[in-house]
Amino acid sequence: MTQQNSRAALETRGISFTYQEGTKALLDVDFIAQDGKFTALLASNGSGKTTLLKALVGLIKPQTGQVLVEGGDIRSMSSARLYGKVGMVFQNPDDQLFAPTVAEDVAFGPRNMDLPEAEVKARVEEALFKVCAGHLAGKAVHHLSYGEKKRVALAGTLAMGPKILILDEPTAGLDPMGEEGMTRLLSDLNRESGVTVVLATHSIDLLPLFADRIFVLKNGRAIMNGTAEEIFRDQEMLKSAGLRLPYVSALLHQLKHYDGVPINGLPLTIGEARKRMLEHIPESALVKSLIKEPDDERT
């Protein structure tokens, strides 16, 4: 899916937004999410991530500029058409589960689309299955754990069959397992089902590394965009945006620039870092007997 190139699924052209009491939350932001790609917004607290995402789905109306969904201005789109294409998952799952039970909640979207009840049922089941929450269908929403709520909230959007999925901090508040599970889930949705994924996050070590393209915001401006490699290569920019390198990259960066180990490029994941490190350790220094049967915990 990732091959079909360079059609913009979502695009903003020079949008600016100022909240009623005067906070300039977005300043002349150009943003593009290519069709079928995984795009991340990376920025520190209060940089305007949530505001931008809300503008993308028409929940706030920028004072200047344009928001385009598949080339069409969202101002000229009916909300039924817009929300049939674009789904949004908010940060706090408690605010987006409003029915008494999980199944009813997930059915909310499809029912609003006036689908026949049989289709609604099928979609609810499929969506819950996708997020590994099939067993929760009959449960009361207020009895779910935080991680379960996050997944059900995602299912509620997936059930509407959006081609574009927008998520605000999908891993915030999740523990390591939950974080990894959610990341894998989103990556699978993107690669296997071809869903265009756009997400905002300020966590650095896992989620952004899956992105085809990362936009960095700072005080409401999109100060840079590029691949993860490009973004994390620019340390000045990262620092000024209040971000940092992933821990693994920071280690290798320090080995290179403080100790003089001539590491190639800037590895971002553990797997890559291992490869780069091994290039500098003489074969003779390796101790075969240390090697355990590799299990599946590699990242």
Partner: protein, 257 residues
Amino acid sequence: MLFELFSDIFTIRQSRLAFIDARVKVIVALGAVILTLAASSPLFPALMLTVGFIGAYMASVPARHVVLRFAAPAGTALLILLLKTFMTPGEVIGIFKFAGLGMAATEEGLRQGALISARVMGAVAVLQLFSFVTPAHHLFRSLRWMGAPKGWVEVAMLVYRFTFDIFEKAAEIGSAQRTRLGYSSAGRSLASAGTLAGAVALGAMEKAERVEEAMLVRGYSGEIPYDPPPPLGAAGIMKTAGSLVALGALFIILEAI
């Protein structure tokens, strides 16, 4: 304390009563309450009380919880009994000394008091058994099916769903106030309670904005859609009618005794 009681966890436990169509339960429960109120002797209400306890036991509701839920109505029932016994004119059956004053209990009063108290306990038992074995969302769906005003049911669903969240928030704010000694004197308690109420109300209004946004992106256009339950069907009608007839028969028999 009050809020700890507000729990629907028991309705999730599997029990035979939980599987009965909620519409049947609503109608039968209403019938039972009406008959209980119409009773002219305490026998039928007493039967309902017994049924309520047995049902709660069958649904494996912890005894402690049952006692807690019945405590307040039982207090009221007792009060009514005393009020009626001592304040209704009639044939005096006993005089009790209280604070140097004779209190005359009358037979007529005792009879009336016992009847009303029995009705209270019987009707409460019916309702509690109903809520022990009926998940709230089944109730809402039935109400809508029965033609309750849509707006009312929608508001009720939202209130029910978010009560739990908001209660947690209230508890959290209260705890934060407590650890900063906000309840260390009567005056401070009062100020803290006011702040707590305000913070809870404001928090709810702010949450409403976020909830509304989440509803909008999922196609909300002013009404919460629902899946109408299938027709009650012959079996359901039979069950409802059968239960009502049985209740009616028991009522007539017990009234005649």
